[in-house]
Symmetry: D3
């Protein structure tokens, strides 16, 4: 999510240990070669995960996406699913984290013999990095909201670069964000190739009109775990939701709006291209979904505990 | 260029020194933080350069492209043009290189406070890396040629992600290459959004039919320095050349074909989607352009020497 | 379906009689003028039909499509529906066929005064040809499967040439197949104009992921009778099925896949662009659908018998 | 060209002999199997040629296009260039034709073992048919002109079906013509995928505004021999000509217009979608080009004679 | 709806009074400045409404659309919803109308200081015009029907000009109508940017095939109040209805067809591009919907009366 | 041009007379019926013209465009070319204007019997309005420049609504302007359907990079008289100019930029999406073109005087 969010430096993050290819090293020593495929080519996939009351939330969904993404780019992660889960927990344990940590798991094609695009030039194993930090959305974001501005940069279709692949090549999206920063945007709203609303540059986008939640159909936005949860929460709680091809003017006329992501969960939007959201911050439907989502997180944490118990 | 090229490890590359933010460090110590924007986001621009008889070939064109690319992504390189040239020469000097070095200059947005897309979260200066290695295209490539295969992945248009930006986010192109490796492709041929021939995944593509050199118009391919030189060499030497929207079948029926790039210069293509090039390897027009390009390199090197002389 | 299938020459096909404009003539004498609109222009429509236990399967659906197609190209078939059915049965009777025959009914605009595109230059009646042969998919295809490869040739939209028209102008599709034969493809997988999965060159395409059957929405693929039956069988048997715009990478990650057509019914796919289908050949969902489809054929044959009984 | 043209039956065509795979057979006996790839699939390429004062006009251009088209669809014609020329002349000789014959050379993939799309199922050699007839555009067409009407059917792009391939699969174009016949169109004017003027269904389209000849750029129209000649005649005679992407309204506002094709040469257009051409029939530029084209034909015939002389 | 409809001049319309910015003025004096944004720029939004048995039908839906449209173009209407309703009733009262009036409410950006596009140059308040006339569809239209012809002009997508905005800039649509008048069209049928059926130039389009009502999905057609009512009537009365992307040939093969609009309600279509509708005029499904719609109007009028009663 | 320009009210405009259908009426009495096709439908075409030293500049070009536009929408202007010129001069004479007047000539389809789209419902003659005012671009605009911001609204292609038609239906363009006003834009920069730079909402756009003037190819921008003059001035004065498909980032990196229009002539641009133009205001190439354009105006005025002299 965009930079206007105020991340308060947390003193507990002072002596972090980072997982780096099986080692837990101090943050300052967590370094990769300049010949790493991640650095030279953005050739990797990643996951953001949140720790909540001891559990890694929606872990299965995240790992499904990670392994599917790796398979899609023919990247051998080197660790099987159980080993990857162990690595995540080892990282949390090394940092004595039990609640509120935000993790970023990064997997790249590792060091290259020659820094060209050919994946066959990778010298050895994938680079696996796990960073865990205490990081929370600022309290005020729920009442202040994010300002969105629409970029002229459009989302790529799947036959060019599938937005659903959670990759290290983020520059197309950063370009969209750069486009709107001078316009006061915290996050860029992006249109699909046909000119309909599709995604934000780092989160998924929803809005509410006359009680109906609306979002894009999914071909041109992130395959978001939180997005999926919001859609399921709507269905399960009889909140009308419609996935369709909507024009930008539909969002401009919204009653309320929010973006979703693993880090921020459900974050209210204050204005879109200068159009203020009239239903308050957060709006009533947004707030209801936030409450439902909080309950879902607790339920998931409890369920994970029970599953882990002997 | 694709991995089928046989890069012979050169013993002179044993103790390389790499420029890393003003320091010249041994290759094994050339490392960046896992919080570097290049590693986490592919947020950077780069140039490949060749040293030839003491000179850095087409240095102005490369620096023009580098600074234009950095401006396009609002990246402050931290070094002005003279300082950047000095850094390149210092790297060559530290490695005692006077001829035949291949350089990769990489510039990323540096270490991030939070590893999200927001460029305002960069903590400080850009990361500047310069790698210089002895590296030559294998001698046999001129007679063996590259096999191209067309990918179903298409080039992105400029309103999504401009191919002309020489960026660290290479995964869309790597995906295209991954698509053709099982088909025996050394390099992927890619179509533009309208289905016409546009580019290879890491080089620019030309072909020859009835004495006419053909290539794409330039909206959907790399802004290649070598590409520009080839076009100028054709114009200057009365070799017919046409930049247009060509169908794939036009390349399949080519007499000869080649790809261009800073590393390989002009590299012949042996076959495209199984269609062998009937005019030999290299074909006569390809060979003539190679000869002209070799002369241009010598001329440039001489000119650079003269300019540098007191 | 593609040529890799091993059609065993059946000795019962030795003395076939072919329906040609009301006559039943030996196969070798079944000839049309080189001025026939079918030959010079591909100006005609056709149906493939299968005889099963005495009945012509799904005859209504095939005739609906035939007459709709003829109307769409302003082609007067010259025979009404009852007469066409009689012709089909007369052909079968002339060859003493009661089970296992495969029929191809072809209807072109007949002999032209001038061999140009103008339909008003047709001299007289449509050319109606009915070929009936003993022809079965090879037994091993169910375990060996078809290898698909994606063509760079895309399906035409309806405002250019509607894939749903079952026409004699097959060269766009043959071109797609030609594209993949050198890549080891038995059949070409084709994308729609927007780059999503749509069709194979001669069959319709389905795949299975996590128990869900997936296929394209239908705007850019064949209006297949078997396709319709598979969708109905899924709905009737609570097999999850989704018709949507899917990216190619979704098929690459499939558990199993199959193609459908009147001749082959439901034919398993072994690999797609080199990605093997992990769920076996045929996969469990494919096998279940094959079993259901076999039952449907028997049921249809029985029903046809009952309807025909006095 | 469309059916409104009045082809007068010529008594000299009474006892025509047709070339059929090396035999010269009476027209009524010129028949192909219903298993021929041309009949079942439209799987073939063809050329129209005109005999003028003993010579076959622009023979090299036609044969270039024929062999390129055959290569594009992987069709082995079975005859080399010299043999093909001999076949054309043998056909003319068998019919005692020395001037004014119109020839149609058709080459299909021949008889299929199974009538599916797979080219590997062709049993043997290509089917080669040469029809030569005495056929002239009616005298009055030059003063009456053709009425064009724009179809809603658009031209296919090369990544779907290249209009430049002179194929037997003409139904997409016949559909366009069918679309305009009820509107009084003799020939359909067609737009390209982006909505610009591209082609007629069977001829190429030119118009004249303020003395400038205009036509499409060539990506989405026929690779016409006469089209090429008209462009060259304009260039050679300082007649301004512009190939560009023009909107339909530009043609509606034309001073004069004409279509080109091997049979009709340069045929004036009387009206486009009801807009009459104000500059007369033929208009002055059209007439000048007709005169230049007539001279070119004579010159070509003379040159062919000289080349043929001992 | 198109001009072929025979509007009989009604003598009761002789001395109409028109609402003009708060005044009720005789029709001949209802004039606006040539500097009005409506006149110079088409800068305004409008609604058509029908009076039925004392009530303004579907008034809420019309006002919702009006105020949403005004907000979309940043136009301050100057009257709140209650005031606008009062103005409508005042206009009807001034003309002693109680049943059968057709109203057109027009709101433009008012008089401009400079006649350029900048909305900030508007000198003062919006121009509000309400015209009420006795106007009925001719009785014979139900049995004669409208002839549609497809235009080559396509509907604009929402990222260019949203068809759902009921604006005063109607020339793109008038151009489509002009295109088909010479072809005998009463109203133009228009395709969407992808070439599928979307809308008529002034009404929405539906057709019926095998008992199923079909229409476009709504992204590229008018946000019609009557369209919405027809869809709801189908749903409420178990009449199958499908909103999808349909090819033009689907409409050509329709059993019956109709267009919808506030003025004409549900108007049968007699032919589409020369294809006559075989199910009669009106067809049975059309007639059933007309009957249901008549009942809905009565119900609405009764309900409005009851609501208005003390 | 956009509203940020400071039009100083000129006292000489106090008692203007406006041409209204053959009458010269005081400005306040220049009114049209609310049934006028211009007001209800934006159904008309217009021209802006400038008087300079007694002459109407580029009068032929403006009248060519006016009559071509009227023909394109089947609008009979009612006045022939000589009569129209006389009307323009009569308007200037009635206002005693000899230099510096700006004229807007508007022609709509006149009063409608029914206010629907059908042009056949026009009751009588076209409405012709000519407004002449003393109006000059503010002196400071040349040094202050216009701020452009790119709209997400894209230009319409010619098969939807040709930007080259100078129409009264300006709302698509006003929508683009409305989009950028909150971003501080004086004028909206707009992209074409493929995402390349095409036009501003009310002017044409040029920029300068390394001494080369750049602009769009013309398919998706206004057919501007000033645009044509600038292109011709470049050609005539050896100023490099390139018309092509450029990405937005190319304009962001411009040295200088300007817009063209009849009213403002050549107006410098100060910033584009926040990117300031580094070459000053006006930049040197812009200034050179302004000087050349001033000379051209004088030359034209002199030439017009000479032509008018007895």
């Amino acid at each position: 999510m965009a930079g206007s969010q105020d991340f308060t430096a947390d003193p507990r993050n002072a002596n972090l240990k980072v997982w780096l290819n099986g080692q837990l090293v101090p943050k300052d020593e967590a370094k990769v070669s300049v010949f790493d495929a991640g650095f030279v080519l953005g050739d990797g996939v990643w996951e953001g995960l949140r720790q909540h009351k001891g559990a890694l939330l929606f872990l299965d969904a995240h790992l499904d996406r990670l392994y599917a993404g790796a398979a899609d780019i023919a990247l051998d992660l080197g660790l099987n699913r159980a080993e990857m889960i162990a690595a995540l927990h080892a990282t949390l344990a090394a940092n004595d984290m039990t609640h509120g940590a935000h993790l970023r798991l990064m997997a790249t094609r590792g060091v290259k013999a020659a820094v060209n695009q050919d994946p066959r030039n990778a010298l050895g194993a994938a680079t696996i990095v796990i960073v865990a930090e205490y990081k929370e959305p600022s309290a005020e974001i729920a009442t202040k909201g994010l300002a969105l501005a629409t970029s002229t940069i459009r989302c790529t279709p799947a036959d060019m670069f599938d937005m659903r692949l959670n990759s290290h090549s983020r520059l197309p999206l950063i370009r969209a964000l750069l486009d709107v920063i001078p316009k006061g945007g915290d996050e860029a709203l992006m249109l699909d190739p046909g000119g309909f609303i599709s995604s934000c540059n780092a989160t998924n986008f929803f809005w509410v009109k006359d009680g109906e939640v609306r979002t894009s159909t999914g071909e041109f936005c992130f395959n978001g775990v939180t997005r999926g949860n919001v859609i399921r929460l709507c269905d399960a709680n009889a909140i009308p939701i419609k996935l369709d091809f909507f024009p930008l003017r539909d969002a401009h006329a919204a009653d309320e709006a929010f973006v979703t992501g693993t880090f921020g969960g459900i974050t209210p939007v204050s204005r879109i291209d200068g159009h203020a959201m009239p239903a308050g911050l957060p709006g009533p439907v947004t707030q209801r979904l936030r409450t439902l989502y909080d309950a879902l997180k607790d339920e998931q944490a409890l369920y994970a505990q029970m599953r882990a118990a002997p």
